[in-house]
């Protein structure tokens, strides 16, 4: 029975796919047309490159055709609208029937005090429009009716009564086609989301991950069939995944494109639900690729879901019981607002009591879903702060809801099903708040004061913060800090540093930047924009990279003065560095990062948590060198090779030429001293540029490019297959060309092949650029003239080198290094070089080209994509378009505004704790989230590791100090008294002392500071009284003991 049943299921899935594929095509065409009509052109790929790397073109198109309504323009609505305008939907309509109050300024960054009294939606239109001219932004005021909803693909409500919401949701749910309905609220430190995308919503890609693949090594004739793959990389298939096969030799029946199911998935093999016993016998080859079937989700309408909420999406497993309670709490608050037409007053016991009573009475009606206990303390916090829309909560939920709208419009990623509740009560100060402290002060921070009190508000305003980085995370943070009033008093200070300038591709999410800021420093522009949001912000913008080289700027006094550090970085090296400084100066570090729809946050709090560097992700996988050199089997390998060839030909060699030209004597003597194969190779390259392959006209560059083409894509392949013929066997008798290696074939050049021709032209253009030769206009696009120029080049026939034994001509001699001494060749080359350099015009130099991925007109990506695709053609690897090539070769990190905004919201919820002080580790939270699934994983940080030795114990946050200008021997004795035998003492990256080096013994009676000055070149600045050394030591039983950093206070 079972197999049969499964077959039916598989058949259905297949049918479904066909239908969806058909439907998809239509939808794309329709919406594509709409987008075309709306903006008259295609996706601006320069602007949206980072976002395209997350969604792909096929998702962006329907997104660009979608019209979205955002109702309720307090902080949450503003955040959602911002994320959607940045994402580039077709239109965003803002609706609000209320007017701006001072209260709104704690979370809506589009508003200023001048806007008070205006309609909220109208006050936001112009500033939202500035973010992206391709999106139509408009305002709708007054009452909203169902009829208004019909022209939208998605509608979002951030401030709507439950009754009204049910009415609108019913309309959207039964509309044809259904309109995606989202209701979200943030009330103080509590938030909720509800999604209803209609009775049958099709998700095209449930997780956004690339389909997994494997290289087949064997397939059995069996039922089920056992598929083994090469042990190059672990397979990531899971039981139940569907896969398709291609390039299988022998068992060709599997190449039919029909998805088949995986079972018993193992690291390098799996069973396939298919009877292959009657199929042809497997011979070789084959690639297996996961197919991701679309998923249909049946949403319940709001009315039904309210009483049958099903499973809530969890976020914090220490709050397992909370979502049902919050489901109740939000209903109780809705009832309070309906009955009293207002929110509870902050700190009012009567109002809180009323909300609790409503909650209890609703709970009593729930029957078997009734909660046994109602946490009144939690409801107190909920009710008391409910009027406030806090910026961090708005930022977090703005990210979540923005992503849900994108899902609704595109079918990309799995929607939130259907309720999500969250709270951050741990952000409240440790000591109970007095009602008097919560009273409004007629300031823009009144909302925040109503939750946290004036005492904490003052602390926030006086905070001294260092924010490192001012890119995507940085812009969001600056907005958040400005709204929260952080560093907004005379005593407060926010230092932001970033050494980068603004590029066009930043604009799709770094929302404080505009196109007229391109080329300007990020930190300055962002700081200026943040001061528009809150003119009281005390911000200083610097352009220093945070690194050991800038410790004169970020010196001890700077660090000692800080209250907290916020990282807004995009690389691990800088994160590690800032982490080490924060550990050293004992400062809280709030760390976060994003990758596509994923984000993580980590709190590093002195003595309470481990530091950032204590745990690490494994480094990125790199393809083996031999694979990249000669045996690529996927496009990544081809692109890695392409980038390295680009750098070698266009950057390194011209740089080398210039190094020679600027100082021939030094250059030559250095080559002579080195005397090795590398020096010889470099000399050969220099001579090539100055002599044999020197370019004087553009036609010379064409010739060079054409001959390079022949060399790379024909001659080298012929040589490789001559050395390793298709049928060659390894010593063990196995075929040499077996999976994952792919047998290459030369590409025969044809100027009528546009991809070949445009590659040659692009390469010639860059070659000409390195020689300063003007570029002929006709070369910029493939045409007849260009083809003729290329065809003119005379290409010599290629003869493979006859292995190692036969040495015939001169060139072969110089390449067959075995029989020739490098030093002798180097002498010959030097003589040649000296001769050649006499013929050069005075002042001759080359222009090295540095790879720049983000300029679409510089031909760099054309050359790299061309290199990679021609190589892919050699090895029958599927080619990629320029955009995909750019993502891989440019190592473009996919990035979207939604996950970025959410990460900064989560971090700012922690900032309340770090600045208030007195919190225990249990109050802090680290988060990992993936909006694509969606998944939230919120947990307490890990405490630091404690090391014990005899009576002593310490963590990474401790440091040992010794006073006195001591010698190395005295330091060793000081440690010996603690039962520690030191064998190595280092300072920076230099060894001051190692017991194994006899020559270090004579240093023992010298002062530590003097040895450090001499060996480590460590000059202690005059204001510092100490020097830090790292000591490696063992206890008396020869066990290594990891002791703290030792500070020697020598003056």
């Amino acid at each position: 029975m079972l197999p049969r049943k499964r077959e039916i299921v598989a058949g259905e899935v297949e049918d479904l796919q066909k239908k969806t594929r058909a439907g998809e095509g239509e939808a794309t065409r329709e919406e594509g047309d709409a987008a075309m009509a709306g903006r008259g052109n295609e996706i601006d790929e320069d602007l949206h490159s980072r976002q395209l790397a997350v969604y792909g073109r096929e998702t962006m198109k329907p997104l660009f055709g979608s019209n979205v309504l955002v109702s309720g323009l307090q902080g949450l609505g503003a955040e959602i609208a911002k994320n959607l305008v940045l994402a580039g939907v077709k239109s965003v309509t803002l609706h609000d029937d209320g007017n701006v109050e001072l209260w709104d300024l704690s979370s809506n960054f589009f508003l200023s005090e001048n806007d008070v009294g205006q309609n909220r939606a109208q006050a936001c239109v112009q500033k939202l429009q500035e973010l992206n001219n391709a999106v139509l932004v408009s305002a709708l005021t007054g009452d909203l009716t169902k009829e208004h909803l019909s022209k939208f693909q998605a509608v979002v409500f951030t401030d709507i009564s439950l009754d009204k919401a049910i009415e609108f949701d019913d309309y959207c749910h039964s509309h044809q086609p259904p309109i995606a309905f989202i209701k979200s609220e943030v009330r103080g430190l509590f938030g909720s989301v509800f999604c209803d995308f209609g009775p049958e919503f099709t998700v095209l890609d449930v997780d956004g991950e690339e389909p997994h693949t494997g290289i087949v090594a064997s397939i059995s004739n069996d039922n089920p069939a056992l598929v083994s793959c090469v042990d190059d990389e672990r397979l990531e298939f899971q039981d139940g995944d569907l896969v398709v096969f291609s390039e299988v030799h022998g068992m060709t029946e599997l190449n039919d494109g029909k998805p088949r199911k995986v079972k018993n998935a193992r690291p390098y093999s799996f069973f396939l639900e298919e009877d292959t016993s009657s199929f042809g016998a497997y011979v070789r080859g084959g690639i297996v690729t996961q197919v991701k079937p679309p998923k249909v989700i049946k949403f319940k309408p709001l009315k039904e879901a309210m009483s049958e909420p099903g499973e809530f999406l969890m976020s914090d497993f220490s709050k397992f019981e909370r979502p049902p309670l919050l489901h109740l709490a939000f209903q109780a608050l809705d009832k309070f607002r309906t009955e009293l037409s207002r929110f509870p007053v902050a700190g009012s016991t009567d109002d809180v009591q009323r909300v609790i009573e409503y909650a209890i009475s609703i709970n009593d009606t729930l029957g078997d879903r009734k909660l046994e206990e109602i946490d009144k303390k939690l409801l107190h916090h909920f009710a008391s702060g409910s009027r406030a829309v806090l910026n961090p909560m708005a930022a977090m939920f703005g990210g979540i809801v923005g992503q849900e709208v994108v899902k609704a419009c595109s079918g990309k990623f799995h929607p939130l099903y259907q309720f999500f509740y969250f709270d951050s009560v741990e952000s409240l100060p440790v000591d109970p708040l007095e009602p008097g402290d919560l009273k409004p002060k007629n300031s823009r921070y009144d909302a925040q004061i109503s939750v946290f009190g004036s005492t904490l508000q003052n602390k926030l305003e006086e905070a001294k913060i260092f924010m490192v980085g001012s890119g995507a995370l940085g812009c969001e943070f600056l907005k958040n800090l400005a709204l929260m009033g952080i560093s907004c008093s005379q005593n407060g200070n926010l230092t932001v540093t970033d050494d980068d300038v603004i590029e066009k591709s930043n604009l799709s999410r770094q929302f404080l930047f505009r196109d007229w800021n391109i080329g300007q420093p990020k930190s300055t522009v962002a700081a200026t924009a943040a001061m528009v949001i809150n003119p009281k912000l005390h911000v200083e913008a610097l352009q220093n990279r945070a690194s050991p080289e800038t410790e004169n700027v970020f010196n001890d006094a700077f660090w000692e003065n800080l209250d907290a550090v916020v990282n807004a970085l995009d690389n691990v090296t800088a994160r590690m560095y800032i982490d080490s400084r924060c550990v050293y100066f004992q400062k809280p570090l709030l760390e976060s990062g994003t990758l596509g729809a994923k984000c993580n946050t980590q709190m590093v709090i002195p003595h309470l948590t481990e530091n950032y560097g204590a745990s690490r992700d494994p480094p990125e996988k790199q393809a083996p060198m031999c694979t990249v050199h000669s045996f690529p089997h996927n496009i990544d390998h081809c692109l890695t090779w392409a980038r390295s060839e680009f750098e070698g030909l266009l950057e390194k060699t011209p740089t080398e030429v210039n190094a020679f030209l600027s100082n021939p004597t030094t250059y030559i003597s250095a080559a002579r001293t080195a005397g090795d194969a590398q020096a010889r190779d470099q000399l050969e390259r220099v001579i090539e540029c100055l002599d044999r392959d020197k370019c004087e006209t553009f036609q010379d560059s064409i010739t060079w490019a054409r001959l390079k083409f022949e060399d790379y894509f024909s001659n080298r392949v012929k040589q490789l297959t001559f050395t390793f013929p298709e049928d060659s066997m390894t010593s063990s008798g196995a075929p040499f060309w077996s999976a994952p290696k792919r047998f290459p074939r030369p590409v025969e050049f044809s100027s009528s092949d546009p991809s070949q021709l445009s590659f040659i032209l692009a390469a010639a253009i860059l070659r000409a650029e390195t020689f300063g030769i003007p570029i002929s206009e006709w070369a910029k696009t493939p045409n007849k003239l260009a083809a003729e120029a290329v065809d003119k080049v005379i290409v010599p026939d290629f003869q493979p080198k006859q292995g190692v034994k036969i040495v015939t001509d001169e060139k072969a001699t110089s390449l067959s290094s075995a029989s020739v001494d490098d030093a002798a060749v180097i002498e010959e080359l030097i003589a040649k070089l000296e001769e050649v350099s006499k013929t050069l015009p005075s002042g001759f130099h080359m222009n090295p080209i540095q790879f720049e991925k983000d300029d679409d007109t510089n031909f760099h990506m054309d050359v790299i994509a061309g290199f990679a695709n021609m190589r892919a053609r050699n090895y029958s690897i599927p080619e990629v378009d320029k955009l995909k090539a750019k993502f891989i070769a440019g190592r473009i990190i996919p990035a979207i505004a939604t996950s970025t905004a959410m990460a900064t919201g989560l971090v700012c919820l922690e900032l309340y704790k770090a600045l208030a002080g007195g919190h225990k580790v249990e109050d802090y939270r680290n988060t990992f989230a993936n909006l694509a699934i969606p998944l939230f994983s919120i947990a307490e940080p890990v405490p630091p590791k404690t090391i014990k030795h005899q009576e002593l114990s310490w963590t990474v946050w401790d440091r040992w100090t010794v006073t006195g200008n001591i010698t190395l021997r005295e330091l060793l004795e000081w440690l010996k008294e603690k039962g520690l035998n030191a064998y190595s003492i280092s300072c920076g990256t230099s060894l001051l002392y190692n017991s194994m080096f006899p020559r270090h013994k004579e240093r023992l009676d010298r002062k530590v500071v003097d040895v450090a000055r001499e060996v480590a070149k460590m000059e202690v600045p005059s204001y510092r009284r100490h020097l830090d050394v790292v000591v490696a030591c063992e206890d008396d039983d020869d066990n290594d003991v990891d002791i703290p950093l030792v500070s020697v206070y020598f003056r």
Partner: protein, 184 residues
């Protein structure tokens, strides 16, 4: 076990405790040279190479970069750059490994059992597959020409000013240590 900051020190210490001769450049710990002897009973026996070791900031999470500085004829070592294509010191590296593993196990194994199916020096691989005798002669010829103790010592005077003779004395016994573990 211990913090990454001290791994360099500990690894270096263990290496020297195992009697390897280490040449430091001005006492810097990011880059140094280790003298490596061809394993006993291999065609590389008698050869000695100066192997450049680079420990990046991310060590031991990221593998050390390893390169032969004097020539070696081997299917998996690039003839020009001396780079080694070996999975355990590239793709499958783990922070559990250390420098002693590299010099006691990984490199001796590589010299004893070259893998011509994934060559970095195609010429060597092809010769090994086609004509084992010619290949072995060539390996020995290279050892003879480029991997004698005198091939790696003259550079010492230029590159490290402050090396001690007493360290060098240790390396005869170092030989023994390598041979003892070369073929587990």
């Amino acid at each position: 076990m211990s913090s990454p900051s001290k791994r360099r020190e500990m690894d270096l210490m263990k290496l020297m405790m195992s009697d390897y001769k280490v040449d430091m450049i001005n006492d810097g710990m990011h880059e140094f040279f280790v003298h490596f002897h061809g394993p006993k009973d291999s065609i590389y026996q008698g050869g000695v190479w100066k192997v450049r070791v680079e420990l990046t900031e991310a060590y031991p999470y990221k593998s050390p970069s390893i390169g032969f500085t004097n020539k070696i004829y081997h299917p998996n070592v690039d003839e020009m750059s001396g780079s080694v294509c070996l999975d355990v010191i590239n793709q499958t590296w783990s922070p559990m490994f250390d420098l002693v593993n590299i010099f006691e196990v990984f490199l001796p194994q590589l010299l004893l059992y070259p893998n011509p199916s994934d060559p970095l020096n195609g010429e060597a691989a092809s010769l090994m597959m086609r004509d084992k005798n010619a290949y072995e002669n060539k390996v020995k010829e290279y050892c003879e020409r480029y991997a004698k103790p005198e091939d790696i010592s003259p550079e010492e005077e230029e590159e490290e000013s402050d090396e001690e003779l007493s360290d060098a004395e240790g390396y005869d016994s170092g030989d023994e240590a390598i041979m003892g573990h070369a073929d587990p």
